[in-house]
Each structure stands twice: as structure tokens, then as C-alpha cells.
Symmetry: C2
């Protein structure tokens, strides 16, 4: 008999999330050690100064364990632009649509906060082919490449998605 | 008789530089109030955690008064890439070559610290035409544009300069 596992989402940030984020980002198998520490430091900064840090989080939990998360926030000195700093899933939860669910919920949060453009950066390394396909599948378009940005032969790829309220949220004649 | 004013450079950061940076950035007439505060906050961060902040400064002083400055640092998670976060001159000192002098000294510092690429970002607004020309004159090339990044109609323009030791620092047959 198939087991039905409920996924719960939360946006509050707890002390133990510093380690949670380290665990998720490490388990995704995608990131260097210094990148893992950068991811963890954003949680610390959020715990220290609250939402004034500019870091907002969405955690996906199953059976009391975080299985994926995203971190995003408004880009300073811009009117409506947001950065998706991190989105990562625990290894065993990859490839099952949870990433897209987290992404959709982040976009809804950005929209609620007044954002209309969501940026995400990734690497040109072949290891990131699935990541880039993930963004493209989720409606992001390639905006720019910065050659040799990370390392020689490793470019920074910048994607952007224009975020709008979904049709169903704008009642038209059919909904009245 | 022409007065000869000596320009002194320093890289250490003092408590009063928070206000100095506010003054310079405001007097340049180029930045919004929230941008001025971002500039000042980088000095505060540097004073709080030292060079671990990733923010390095170069101040140009004349007659004991700071007349221009730059702030730059290594971009996290990259091998050799640096960001020039700020370069600004007090209004009366613009257009006399001091900007290029500060830029050259920053490049030397970046090189010493192991950097080989220096990035700088600016706006596509007509107000920034002289800024973009300044970067181009100083050997930066246009690397990417992010449309409507700052505000609708106000793109982010990314320049990069590949930094190498100047010929004179590499003794060849002529120098031996």
C-alpha cells in the first residue's frame, strides 16, 4: 500500500536551521564547502537581525524533517527585483517535483512582497545542466553570462523570471 | 603661482570614514539615499569584522580631507573575481584624472591579493553616461546587461576588466 507523505511548508526560521541548511546543501551534492558555509551564514544573519537581513526562507518538511528549502530576498537599491539565493533539496527528494513546488511558493511570496522579477544565478559547468534545465522548465529565461566568473572555464549564468499574479487570482467574467 | 596639492592614499579604515563615505557619495550627486546608506554600511561592516568582511578600501586624501575613495573585494565562491563595489569622488574633484588614479591603485591591490578579474556594475540611465565612459576609458569592457534590473527602464550594466601585472613590473631584456 502506497504511503502518503504530507509536505508541510514554513517560513519562520529556527536556530537549528543553520545545521539543517548545511545538511541539505551538502546532501544535494552540488556545492563546494565554502558555498555550504555561505548558505549557512544567511540563516545566521536572518536569526541575528530578522527580516531586515533581506533573507527570507521557505522550508519544506516531511515527517518533521526538512527535505528542501529556498532562500530569497529583495535586491538592495532596486525597485522590484528579487534574488533567489538558494534552492536545494535533500538528495533523495530530487527529481520528484518538490523543487517546482518550492519555486512556485517562493514566487507567490515575492509577489506578495511587491517583487516582479526573480533572478537566479548558476554555473555553466556540465554538473549544473539539470539545474539550468530546472530553471528553464520553471519559466526562467537566460538573461546573461559572465565568462570565467567563478573560475577559468566556469561562467556565471543569470536567469530571470517575470512574476505575475496567476490568472485564477484575478477574477474575470467567468469567475464572477 | 600654482599651488601643488599632494594626494595621499591610505587603505586603513577609521571610525570617521562612515561619515566620510556618506559625504563623498552624497557629494558625487549620483546616488539615491538608500544607496548612500549601503555605501556607509560597508564601512561599518569592515570596522566590525575587519578584512574578513571582504570589503577593502582605498581613500584619497588632500590636505587632510578625503576627496575620493573606492571599495572592492573578492567575490565569495569565485577563484579570482573581485567586485569594485564603489568608486566615488567629491564633486569638486571630478574630471581631473583622480578617478583613474584610484582605479589603477585598486587594480594593483586586487592583483596583489590574487585577483585577475575586476567587475563593476552601473546603471543604464543617461545620468551614468560619464560613469560608463569612465570605465571604458579605464579598460573595462561591457560584459552583460540585465534589463529593467533597478527599475523599469533602468538596466544593470556589468563591466569587467582582466587585470595583469603591468609590463614594467615584469623585467624583460630591456630592464635587465
Amino acid at each position: 500500500m502506497a504511503e502518503c507523505i504530507e509536505t508541510l511548508f514554513r517560513t519562520n526560521v529556527r536556530l537549528e536551521d543553520v545545521d539543517t541548511v548545511r545538511r541539505i546543501v551538502t546532501s544535494s551534492g552540488f556545492f563546494y564547502r565554502d558555498e555550504v558555509e555561505v548558505a549557512a551564514s544567511l540563516v545566521e544573519e536572518r536569526l541575528k537581525v530578522g527580516t531586515a537581513s533581506g533573507y527570507h526562507f521557505l522550508f519544506a518538511e516531511e515527517k518533521g524533517t526538512v527535505v528542501g528549502y529556498a532562500c530569497f530576498g529583495p535586491i538592495p537599491c532596486t525597485g522590484f527585483s528579487y534574488d533567489l539565493y538558494w534552492i536545494a533539496l535533500a538528495g533523495p527528494r530530487r527529481g520528484q517535483g518538490l523543487g517546482s513546488t518550492i519555486m512556485t511558493r517562493c514566487e507567490e511570496m515575492v509577489l506578495t512582497m511587491g517583487g516582479t522579477r526573480l533572478y537566479v544565478e548558476t554555473s555553466s559547468r556540465p554538473q549544473y545542466d539539470p539545474t539550468r534545465r530546472f530553471y528553464e522548465r520553471n519559466g526562467f529565461r537566460l538573461e546573461a553570462s559572465l565568462r570565467d566568473f567563478y573560475h577559468p572555464g566556469d561562467d556565471k549564468i543569470i536567469y530571470v523570471k517575470l512574476i505575475k499574479a496567476s490568472e485564477s487570482e484575478t477574477p474575470g467574467p467567468d469567475n464572477v
